[in-house]
Symmetry: C2
Subunit: 375 residues, 2 copies
Amino acid sequence: MLKFSNNKYFPKPNLSMKGGIDPWGSAEIGDYGKVFKEFGLENYCKSEYGLDYLVFRRGIAIAHRDFGKVYERMKSGKPFINMTGIASSGPLHFGHKLIVDIFRFFKENGGKNYFGICDIDAFVSRPKIKTLKEAQEYAAKNLADILAMGLSEKDIYLQSKKEARYYTFSYELSKKLTENMIKAVYGTLDPGKISANLLQYADILHGQLPEYEGNMPSVTAIALEQDPHLRVARDLARRLKKFELPSSIYITHQPGLTEKKKMSSSEPDTAIFLDDTPKAAEKKIMRAFTGGRDTIDEQKNKGGKPDVCKVYSMLRFHHPDDKKLLDICERCRKGELMCEECKRFAAEFVSAWLEKHREKREKVKAKARDIVLGE
Amino acid sequence: MLKFSNNKYFPKPNLSMKGGIDPWGSAEIGDYGKVFKEFGLENYCKSEYGLDYLVFRRGIAIAHRDFGKVYERMKSGKPFINMTGIASSGPLHFGHKLIVDIFRFFKENGGKNYFGICDIDAFVSRPKIKTLKEAQEYAAKNLADILAMGLSEKDIYLQSKKEARYYTFSYELSKKLTENMIKAVYGTLDPGKISANLLQYADILHGQLPEYEGNMPSVTAIALEQDPHLRVARDLARRLKKFELPSSIYITHQPGLTEKKKMSSSEPDTAIFLDDTPKAAEKKIMRAFTGGRDTIDEQKNKGGKPDVCKVYSMLRFHHPDDKKLLDICERCRKGELMCEECKRFAAEFVSAWLEKHREKREKVKAKARDIVLGE
């Protein structure tokens, strides 16, 4: 169950802030302020919602819309809809792992679970996916990873294997949209994109249909650039009248491993994939961009910069031990920890995780294929 | 089975053409020439495809696209897909009856049958339909009429109760469309209209999926203004490569009963509805616009004009007896048949049909409701 810190509801996490920089913060976070204001997002504040999970403790969740009502349900043990989705357009990497981690957290805290594996979306909105079958092949692989990470068959659904009600609902939603709305929000009226959007809105809202959970607060953890879908889904919920407006939590992207890059499936060195061999993963980490200085001496004098370090990010987003992480952060800043040692630690952590994950995945692989591709 | 006239394949039907005017022709037919040319339709020629059914004998089918390959299948007794659909946005009238009649003709001649009752389409594309439920209420009524006209449960499908494959296919099609194509063909990118279109294309093409009949020529009888859907569906079939291009037969609209009006659900006097009482129908026919002259004397001298007469149209589109119809046409032209007598004949024919239809419908009403609205 959900563990709350006490003191009002939530004191600041007991982590010292050295040099005025939040050890859990990101160097890029400054960019977000404008976006929050423009789109009316509420800052995710640790002292307001101090959910005891690394994503929330470490400033990875940076903003929300209307999370309060989901939070109230979590506090009082009432159910809420836990919804997210991934487009099955390639292999999963650690950025996706975070989405699964958050979903599992909400599942363990009373969520009614809707994890969409979005194969139709992947096919219709991405030029590189040439057939629905291709998206389904990825879906089978993605699902194996997802099951291995602790979700069960009944927590997930494949977009192309839903009940008729889901699809009719997605089409129904189109009646509430206008050409101008779509143009204003997305800047495009490409039919494939419109289709993907309709399915996205259905993904977010269908759990509230009487055929599913009925009217109920819902939470979806997304990246900031997916907020347009959420905004339209909320607008639709408003127009349809019978729904709770869906809530959202905004998650920073885990930075890519190389300099100034996002994690990207099309640039394999930027990300560690869940099916990378431990060896390949170690290599990527050992070559990653860090917050180290030009020379050992300089680093000993000035200290490293964990807030721009890709290796530190990997630990911040995935290593479960706050104390260990804080220790690394402090020793790096003080010039006590050199990059070589830190990389080795991260590489060992990641490769051990991958090895364990591979074992779990082997056990659910056939089942995942059967769910996605079986008759 | 299909009955062919002999002489090459099909001689002109043995009906005399008085005064150079085709007795089965329509006064409005002149307008179509331009449309045929512009959109590359082939004229439906009696001497080429002399299908022995009143729609084909009487010039109601005026054009086609690529019907030859379906025709070859009919001739050789091979199956073909027989597809049509109606949007369930109101009660059915005699104009819809014609669509069912044609569908039944192709069914009786070897078609694999896909009669779509398009409730999602009706809801998303028509402002007057406020909920999907409302479209489904109409669908239940429409289906009762359709079953009463001799189609069976397995010939029809409700758009909102299809298999997942139908919906995923409709969304898949969006990938092959561009903003510019849709804009050029329809002049609008309204999301509801795009949704209705995607479903239309899926309606026309899904019978050719491996999950249904597989690759197979298909025929859909439509009105000229629905040709854009057919053109896009053919274009999609071309891009998808694995399909036969769907064929079509173009049907003239049965004219409305009042002057210069189309049959329209929103103007009840223009049409006879399949649930009109015999009395109400008789009244509409007795008040219909005819091809009669201003005075009885003038009519006796100059003769009437069946080619503009709404009562004659009713008989031309629905009365099964060619000889009787030709006799009426000739006697009218010669000034031997006055409107009063002709109207009485038509009113009796229509009211008898309605009475019989009502009886048949009563028997299938509950079943239709169960198919559409049952769980």
